[in-house]
Symmetry: C2
């Protein structure tokens, strides 16, 4: 897990061609990694759907990333359940 910092870090990032100032109580490296992930996703969606405006691209990116998050959560929970079952046997 990215460890929390005592201070709030703030960096400037470019996401799908727009500048954003992003801040958080984590390292600037973690913030940059998160921003790069969203930038890649939005740039890819913009290329594949050039008719969509920036807002639709951002919402579609959020939907895609949420789909990944919920799938991973489910996979992790299923793995933990199997692991628990094995410990019981």
């Amino acid at each position: 897990m990215p460890s929390e910092t005592k201070t709030i870090n703030r960096i400037k990032v470019k996401i799908n061609g727009e500048d954003y100032y992003v801040r958080g109580k984590v390292s600037t490296e973690h913030i940059a990694k998160v921003a790069k992930y969203v930038d890649n996703k939005m740039c890819d969606l913009s290329r594949r759907h050039p008719d969509l405006n920036q807002l639709r691209v951002a919402v579609l990116a959020a939907l895609n990333i949420t789909d990944e998050l919920l799938r991973l959560k489910q996979e992790y929970e299923e793995f933990l359940a199997t692991f628990d079952d094995e410990l019981k046997d």
Copy 2:
């Protein structure tokens, strides 16, 4: 994991007050769950930052969700690594 369907399902959802048609090769229940997650996140961010426009809110939501995804990925990988180590002992 949500199992893939043979057909593409398409539903209308409301995200932060706007209508979107979302489609995917998964159940309509899974699509609705994903959309609800993004809607909750964007509505919450809009309330907390009323000065931000819709695009900034959507990008901020995507950043927050990516942060959750990358943290969960790391936690899962660390757990798997510990699990592997225990099997080796």
